[in-house]
């Protein structure tokens, strides 16, 4: 019985933990401007993140080494450093976006301006990382984030024309009033939002934190293969709600307050309460994960002692680098920049950075010295290589599209 409970907990946590501010904003923007015509990107992204997370978890569990330790060993210090610099900076951008997201969600609940919440949010993230145990941190935020299911409930309550939604989804292509370049820009952004790089650092380091064995690997595979697709459905629900309520009114989503409009429309105050709690939990959880990822990447490259399982005094530089990352995030947000804009940039740059971490994982998953007999099978390699092509295409197209469309204006 407790085994079933553990399995359920894992899956539910994966669903709740799948959505972060990038998914919330990007899916809502896409739904309000393109309807469901970009749904295929979510599908591709979900399959991709399943492969990616599963491979990195397997590498960590079997080899006992976390991502950045292996990147440096296998690719050499120069390539590793370039990789580290790019990954760390983009991770930092994501931390900033998530903390901004927490502040925006708190504004929805209290009407106090987000500027006041930013230091509170950053402090909250720090104190949880400082004191709370890894598993507890994951479970609480994951389960609370599950309340985002209200987006799916709201979609049903809105009694949409399912035929019309399906029609949009099955006819990929920009609607008449949006240029093609913007369509593809948002395709890349949506892809970057689904396949966030920090997921890999976090997943593989978490495997070491919790000292996974091969049995844990099977359990994690289940969490990933069931939880992430359900999380993907949630993303589609967010887009669907926006498509049904906001698209007909020509409301292009530019703020978090617009993201929740359809939920209030469908289910009133109760639904709105659930969704605000869900957004808070999801963004706070993602803030924890991305902050930890910044610590993991630095510590693993330089060989520092790291891990939440150690007391902070025994992993001093690891904790110091996370504190500095949080301070930088607060400083960026203190300039008054719109957190939604930061979010949009973070997902696009995530798409740019994807090959940097994906390729090494793919290489190492085939390396017998690390993996022994657990190297990738032929099917996994085939799919892995197909995704490598997709990821490279998205990464190369991202910046030109960003410029040509003026960040999707």
């Amino acid at each position: 019985m407790s085994k079933l409970f553990a399995v359920a907990l894992g899956i539910l946590t994966a669903i709740g933990g799948f959505v972060d501010i990038g998914d919330l904003v990007t899916n809502a923007v896409v739904g309000s401007r393109f309807g469901m015509s970009l749904a295929w990107v979510v599908l591709i992204g979900v399959v991709g993140i399943c492969i990616y997370a599963q491979m990195s978890g397997r590498v960590a569990a079997v080899s006992g080494r976390a991502t950045f330790e292996i990147i440096r060993e296998r690719l050499g210090p120069r390539a590793g450093l370039a990789n580290l610099a790019a990954s760390f900076l983009i991770n930092l951008l994501t931390v900033t976006a998530e903390i901004g997201g927490v502040a925006l969600a708190l504004q929805l609940a209290t009407s106090v301006a987000p500027g006041w919440w930013i230091p509170v949010a950053a402090f909250g993230v720090w104190i949880v990382i400082w004191r709370a145990r890894f598993k507890l941190l994951e479970n609480v935020t994951g389960l609370l984030g599950l309340t985002l299911i209200v987006f799916a409930v709201a979609l049903f309550m809105l009694s949409p024309d399912w035929g019309q939604l399906a029609g949009q989804a099955l006819q990929p292509g920009p609607p008449s009033d949006e240029p093609v370049a913007t369509y593809w820009f948002y395709a890349v952004a949506l892809f970057g939002a689904a396949m966030t790089p920090y997921e890999v650092f976090f997943f593989s380091s978490g495997a070491i934190e919790e000292q996974w064995t091969k049995q844990d690997l099977a359990k994690s595979r289940l969490n990933v293969l069931v939880g992430f697709p359900l999380g993907g459905l949630l993303s589609l629900a967010i887009a669907g709600c926006a498509a049904v309520v906001l698209l007909p009114q020509a409301i292009d989503v530019t703020s978090l307050s617009q993201v929740v409009l359809p939920v209030a429309e469908a289910g009133g105050k109760v639904a709105l309460a659930f969704v605000i709690v869900g957004i808070l939990a999801a963004t706070f959880g993602a803030a924890l994960e991305t902050t930890l990822s910044s610590g993991y990447t630095l510590a693993q490259y330089f060989g520092w002692s790291w891990g939440k399982f150690r007391k902070p005094a025994k992993a001093a530089r690891f904790h110091l680098s996370m504190i500095i990352a949080l301070l930088i995030a607060v400083a960026i947000l203190a300039t008054g920049v719109d957190p939604i804009l930061v979010t949009e940039y973070s997902v696009v740059f995530s798409a740019v950075a994807l090959p940097l971490t994906y390729l090494p994982i793919l290489i190492i998953a085939n390396d017998r010295e690390y993996m022994g007999d657990e190297v990738n099978g032929r099917a996994m390699n085939f799919v892995g290589q197909v995704y490598l092509v997709i990821i490279l295409a998205a990464a190369i197209a991202a910046i030109p599209l960003l410029i040509v469309t003026g960040a999707g204006a």
Binding site: G76, R78, A79, A82, Q107, L108, A109, T110, S111, D177, E178, P179, A181, T182, V245, Q249, A250, I251, D252, T254, S255, S257, Q258, V260, L261, A264, E265, G268, K269, L272, A273, I276, I399, P400, L402, I403, V404, T405, G406, A407, A409
Partner: protein, 166 residues
Amino acid sequence: MQASRRSRAASAAASAALVLAVPLLAGCASPEATFEAAVGQGVAATETARLVVDQQLDERTFTTTALATLGDARRELVAASGQVAGTDAASEAESETRTEVLDALDAALDAVNAARDAMASGVGSLEAVVPQLDAAADGLTALEQTVDADADSPADSPAGPAGSDG
């Protein structure tokens, strides 16, 4: 290894330069494109305000959330106004359009402010703001037709960068 690092650094610098170019390029848009974008922004903001005021009157939302929503809508309208006000009109017609757009955005801003005041401090009634918001929204939507038509067939100004459709 060194060659690839150098080329990596070069491409990183190029990307950085290109990313910085985005706001610069955006600033070079033609007046028609700016009007069209601003009106679109205005419509989105005003419709958002209408929707949330509706929800508040129906008690389907929290006052805190509604106030945050109106605040965001107001910020959008101010930004749109600012963009339009900063354009140079090259002809009599453009100058007229610019005035029309600014007036419509101002009307919307007034309505949103009235809604905010009614909700936050009880100044005036929220129901009374509804027709004001409706009128502002209608005004902007009507303007959208004109401005879209102008932008799609630019007579004397060069077309803006790709993205002039919306």
